[in-house]
């Protein structure tokens, strides 16, 4: 790669490139949409030690430790991941670093693959660290490099905040070469680096002083830029914005207004903002979700228009900005357009069927959820991964969900409520309802294991299903401690879930391991586990149907329905397989989609479904 030819890169690829060019030594991350491809791409640079950590707290702690040891270090995660990593974040903000530390948070306005819409810019203010916000891929690369320099210069972790539309949009990028950065010499200094109350009390004022210095820096950094209007005399409107919102605002207002684009968004450049506000007649603040910039302006007593007209919820889009600020658009187009957000596909024709995501044909979770259909009167505490889709119709196997790992710990709390209810009612007919927790392999390593320890410790009678599909699937197949491979695909020690759970103290009669494609085995283990008086764990082990080796092995294989035998009981339809549908009153399996898992055959009582069949090699009908 050289400086001459621009390359199309996603924001995530550009951040990875920036990490590389900045001479970063250590990078740790946990996958999470929309951040995942940052670490996947960092993993392609052999100069950097790059790993998948079991969770974001571990990732940030690894990076913080490396930075303490003098390295340039990087950690990356999605917005909710920073909640998990918040504990180290707030204290490494006190100690500072020996080398440099940059933390990426990828936020998700619009929640394409997330459970909440938190705006992590506020973490920067809360933890008192600088915040950089790029608006396209070139800025992703440039700001990442700048973040390392700011971290080093001000002895602080730096938060790099991206959003889905920056992470997953491609634009042209000029790349550079890698800086050769030596490891900074570590000198023991416990007053700075070891936060006990007496040291932390000394550090807190230094953090405040650092913030003051950073706010001076914010006034002059080129990361904050003013874009003049094409006709300076006419520039009566000024817009303060940043991130993807700048691109949308620019689409709407073009070069007819003046912009202050905040790439360095916290601490706020108060004088710059004040001067900019004074230079225009009318000030608009255009930002997604929280009124972060707007509140800063209002604290300064600057009159501006922002969230009074812009929505707090969902993504922005050029049309949403038009509807908010342009009265003529509001009158003419708004009713017809209904102003969809950028998250599209919601508005056009409400009468056509929705297309929610579904478990793939051949998904090893299907057997588990099909077996769980018999336990609908019980409560299913689900978790974050592809198996969350089991909560949707027709499988309907899910009652509640909070966050990574909560299926087990919150499921346990729920079980305590059942126990308390049963104790107070003392009625003989009080239903024997149990809690069943459903969690995947990677999520279990992430934060399920601590909950499981608590279940055993508290002797809570509940059933925990660990759905081990041999990969972190939802985010696109990342390795985890159970797969036996590293981020780069090299061999690694494989942590065996059965041995791990067994080592905690789960005895043979309360620990099962089955093949989820074998419905009878799943049903039998479920029955035994549900009948068991204390906690019980079932590990279902079969690889994700989308893994290349699995996909290739069943490519030419399929099941089919004998339409003379089919009685249209729809048992196969209730497995929620996208390859099966009713046509002409009978079930039909699409042989192209079928992945030959055989679950439909096992639920077909009349025996209408048979297979697997192998397609003839020559199938072209030219």
């Amino acid at each position: 790669m050289n400086d001459n030819q621009p390359i199309l890169m996603t924001g995530n690829e550009a951040i990875a490139r920036g990490v590389y060019e900045a001479g970063c030594h250590v990078s740790s991350a946990y996958p999470g949409t929309p951040s995942t491809e940052i670490q996947e791409n960092i993993g392609t640079y052999p100069e950097i030690y790059a790993e998948w950590a079991p969770n974001e707290k571990v990732a940030l702690e690894v990076a913080a430790g490396a930075a303490m040891g003098g390295a340039r270090a990087f950690a990356s995660m999605k917005h909710v991941g920073l909640n998990v990593a918040a504990d180290p974040l707030f204290t490494v903000a006190y100690t500072g670093v020996t080398g440099a530390l940059v933390i990426n948070t990828s936020d998700e306005p619009g929640m394409h693959s997330s459970q909440n819409e938190q705006d992590n810019r506020r973490y920067a203010e809360h933890a008192k660290i600088p915040l950089l916000v790029p608006s396209d891929s070139q800025e992703c690369l440039d700001y990442t490099k700048a973040a390392f320099i700011i971290s080093e210069e001000f002895d602080t972790p730096v938060l790099l905040r991206t959003t889905t539309r920056v992470c997953h949009s491609k634009s042209l990028v000029h790349t550079g070469s890698r800086a050769q950065i030596p490891i900074a010499p570590y000198v023991k200094n416990i007053r700075k680096n070891l936060m006990i109350p007496s040291h932390a009390r000394l550090k807190h004022p230094e953090v405040e002083e650092r913030l003051r210095k950073l706010s001076v820096y914010a006034e002059s950094t080129p990361l904050n830029r003013i874009i003049p209007s094409r006709n300076p005399e006419e520039a009566s409107i000024g817009i303060i914005t940043g991130g993807i919102s700048y691109q949308y605002a620019r689409e709407v207002f073009g070069d007819s207004v003046r912009y202050l684009v905040l790439g360095f968004m916290f601490p706020f450049p108060e004088n710059l903002i004040q001067k900019f506000a004074d230079s225009v007649d009318q000030l608009f603040i255009i930002e997604e979700n929280e009124p972060f910039i707007e509140n800063a302006c209002k604290r300064l007593g600057i009159a501006c228009l922002g969230k009074e007209v812009l929505p707090l919820c969902d993504e922005l889009s050029p049309d949403r900005i038009r509807a908010a600020f342009l009265p003529e658009f509001k009158d003419s187009e708004a009713d017809e357009a209904k102003i969809p957000s950028a998250s599209s596909n919601r508005i056009i024709d409400k009468n056509i069927p929705q297309r929610p995501p579904a478990l793939c044909p051949g998904c090893p979770h299907r057997g588990v959820f099909t077996a769980l259909a018999r336990y609908r009167k019980h409560v299913i505490s689900t978790d974050i991964g592809c198996y969350t889709l089991g909560a949707l119709p027709p499988l309907d196997a899910g009652d509640f969900l909070f966050c990574m790992g909560s299926s087990i710990s919150s499921g346990m709390g729920f079980a305590k409520a059942f126990q308390a209810a049963a104790a107070s009612e003392k009625s003989a007919e009080s239903p024997q309802r149990k809690v069943i927790a459903v969690i995947g392999d990677s999520t279990f390593f992430h934060s399920g294991i601590t909950g499981l320890i608590n279940v055993l410790y508290s002797r809570t009678p509940m059933v925990i299903l660990i759905l081990d599909n041999r990969i972190t699937a939802m985010t696109g197949h990342q390795h985890n401690p159970g797969t036996g491979k590293t981020l780069q695909g090299a061999d690694a020690p494989e942590i065996d879930l059965y041995n791990l759970v067994s080592a905690l103290g789960f005895a043979q009669e309360q620990l099962f391991q089955v093949n989820p494609h074998d419905l009878e085995a799943v049903r039998n283990s479920l029955k035994e586990a549900m009948d068991y008086s204390g906690p019980a764990v079932i590990i279902t082990k079969a690889p994700c149907a989308l893994l290349p080796e699995v996909k290739n092995s069943v490519k030419e294989t399929f099941y089919q329905v004998d339409r003379d035998i089919c009685i249209t009981c729809k048992a196969c339809i209730r497995t929620g397989c996208p390859a099966i549908r009713i046509t002409g009153g009978k079930s039909l399996i699409d042989p192209d989609m079928c992945a030959a898992c055989g679950v439909c055959m096992q639920v077909c009582k009349p025996g209408a479904i048979t297979g697997p069949f192998t397609r003839a090699k020559e199938k072209a009908h030219v």
């Binding site: 621009p6 199309l8 949409t33 929309p34 995942t36 491809e37 394409h112 693959s113 396209d136 539309r165 997953h168 949009s169 491609k170 634009s171 042209l172 094409r230 691109q247 949308y248 620019r250 689409e251 709407v252 073009g254 070069d255 889009s317 050029p318 049309d319 357009a337 950028a342 599209s344 596909n345 508005i347 056009i348 024709d349 056509i352 069927p353 929705q354 297309r355 929610p356 995501p357 579904a358 793939c360 592809c386 969350t388 889709l389 119709p393 027709p394 939802m474 985010t475 696109g476 729809k570 339809i573 209730r574 929620g576 996208p578 099966i580 549908r581 009713i582 199938k619 072209a620 009908h621």
Partner: protein, 210 residues
């Protein structure tokens, strides 16, 4: 209001997770960049990919700001599936071109009997769209023995769109797809291109008086 002398062409790809819309968007973006244009592309990863509705956007021109289109701003909507054509139709400009794969993939509410797949969807689109091109990309792909190359057939058809004919398509495809599949992808691209040339874009005279 907008920037003087900035004209952006917008392509929208709509389909079902797993159909290859992201790769298709990548090829279009790379081809536009190789033609010397500023390009932005937007895609969504994650949960919706598991058989849900997916869209990718490509925008190119002298300078591109928003990677996303607004309603009625898309120059060409390439729908990999009929229901998705209906779902995203509102993004197409009135005079825009709609390319539809004549393929029906039933979504879960239809499979499980909660909803019906619209039977007259294609007819409706033909009556409404300014310009429409309907292709059996799935059938054509099956004919050459690889269902996955439907996306290249659709790109082939798209490549005939005014302004896109001069993009270095073949080179870009060779660079983008895996070497062992280059030949069949190029073949698929040519099929799409030929089909579009044969059929021409069906212009709806009733609606827009072309």
């Amino acid at each position: 209001m907008s920037d003087t002398a900035v004209i952006t062409t917008r392509i929208m790809l709509a389909g079902v997770g797993g159909q290859g819309t992201i790769l298709a968007a990548k090829i279009i973006s790379e081809a536009a960049a190789a033609a010397g244009l500023d390009v932005k592309m937007s895609e969504i990863h994650g949960m919706s990919q598991r058989g849900g509705s997916v869209v990718s956007h490509v925008a190119f021109g002298s300078q591109v700001f928003s990677p996303l289109p607004d309603l009625k701003t898309v120059d060409c909507l390439v729908a990999f599936e009929k229901l998705e054509a209906i779902r995203q139709y509102g993004y197409l400009k009135q005079e825009g071109l709609l390319i539809v794969n004549d393929l029906e993939i039933a979504p879960m509410p239809v499979l499980s009997g909660f909803a019906d797949y619209p039977q007259d969807g294609l007819k409706q689109l033909k009556e409404t769209a300014g310009r429409i091109l309907v292709l059996d990309a799935a059938g054509e792909a099956r004919n050459i023995g690889m269902l996955q190359v439907q996306n290249l057939i659709l790109i082939g058809a798209l490549s005939t769109f005014p302004g896109l004919e001069t993009f270095p398509w073949e080179e870009t495809i060779k660079k983008t797809v895996r070497t062992q599949f280059a030949e069949i992808n190029l073949k698929a691209f040519q099929i799409g291109k030929d089909l579009a040339a044969e059929t021409g874009h069906e212009v709806n005279r009733n609606q827009h008086g072309f």
